[in-house]
Symmetry: C2
Subunit: 237 residues, 2 copies
């Protein structure tokens, strides 16, 4: 009781303290051969910021991160992975969780035949890379079942028709909320410090003004916290 | 005269002070679409170390660097590029130079048709990436002509048959020296701090013990400096 009182004084704002959150962040690397791979321009900043803020709100956070140089946010447990396949395995190992926020830019495809040795260009035509579809982490976590997180949030980075693609993606993946952002030429979102997103909750479509990735994280975490407190009020009634 | 005396005191070891060196380092990124690209595991450390040591020996160094987070070495002019095509253009812009050390892991291929918008995986089979051959920077710099550097050094990162591939590469590219190193599984060279190389000068084949990338850089820079001083002795005779 004394400890609880001290804790309440020290951490007045820990509304997520009984929650376990899974956050994915960063790019994935899909091997072509031992030295080459397919990557994408995700820096991991937005996902790392969300993990950090959720931890500040008291959640126990597992951050499954693709390759990035970002430091581990305070209070967060980070699991490093490289490929989409490894990221899925790490996410499944983190279940059960209450909240899943899938921010990682997971490669849609991997190379069908990964070469054991460095491909040589000696003679002949350049190789043609046959791709195969990667597991869909957001759709897998969103699938109904005893381990489904109570709130699954996806991110959709699009270069064109951002909202149309995002609405369709939310439907197709089966996630609860979707955060859509444009990453086209000139937006500077990938690798940058700022972001401009639209939150689709199914009930609402909210366009947020451009702000820092940390502010996007704070606002999203607040929405998550509000969502669960509104649920618990309903449950208590 | 006084300045020269001071300089000689302050910098007793500047044997390359009248030389211009071009060093390439890091990976290249070859775009697939606005968010995806083909990369490789080069960290840029070996090339950055060579640029730094050549500058310490007095050379005026232009470092043409692919994407990396490494800081600019003291006294070095860095030019940042992304693709192999950009790297070639930056190298050609740096000519004439006395010494070219091509350490970058230049992508052998780029994507034949770079998509303007993010490729979608909606429906149908995964795309097949058709590749086209990139310009060969080492071979281009090695080509005889009025702008050929007096000493062109290439690096060959191989996962298997390191020496056989390196001998063949030295011949085919037309460079003067070739530094061969294994980057196969377990070597930890790409991204690591240490390296184990063999120097092929045409006259000799020298296997150096494993050492830090900085020590490889020091030893190679010393060899470069010795080579030019032996030439100048010959020229004076």
């Amino acid at each position: 009781e004394i400890l609880a009182a001290i804790e309440a004084r020290l951490f007045p704002q820990r509304p997520l303290k009984d929650f376990h959150a899974l956050v994915t962040a960063g790019p994935t690397h899909e091997a072509i051969d031992p030295v080459r791979y397919i990557a994408n321009h995700s820096s991991g900043r937005q996902g790392y910021a969300i993990a950090e803020v959720l931890a500040e709100l008291g959640a126990c956070v597992t951050l499954v991160s693709g390759p990035t140089d970002l430091p581990v946010p305070p209070g967060v447990e980070r699991v490093r992975v490289s490929s989409a396949q490894e990221m899925l395995a790490a996410c499944e190992a983190a279940l059960p969780v209450d909240i899943a926020v899938c921010v990682a830019a997971v490669g849609d495809w991997s190379v069908a035949q990964v070469a054991d040795e460095k491909l040589k260009k000696l003679g002949g035509a350049p190789p043609s890379l046959t791709l195969k579809e990667n597991p869909d982490i957001l759709a897998t976590l969103s699938k109904a079942g005893p381990l489904r997180p109570r709130l699954v949030i996806g991110f959709a980075a699009e270069t064109n028709n951002v909202l149309a693609h995002a609405l369709e993606k939310r439907q197709r993946k089966g996630c609860d909320w979707l955060v859509a952002n444009g990453v086209g030429a000139g937006t500077n979102v990938f690798g940058g410090q700022r972001n401009r997103v639209t939150l689709l909750t199914g009930q609402e479509e909210e366009s947020w003004p451009e702000m820092s990735k940390f502010d996007v994280a704070r606002r999203l975490a607040q929405r998550i916290s509000d969502y669960f407190s509104s649920l618990s009020i309903k449950e208590t009634q």
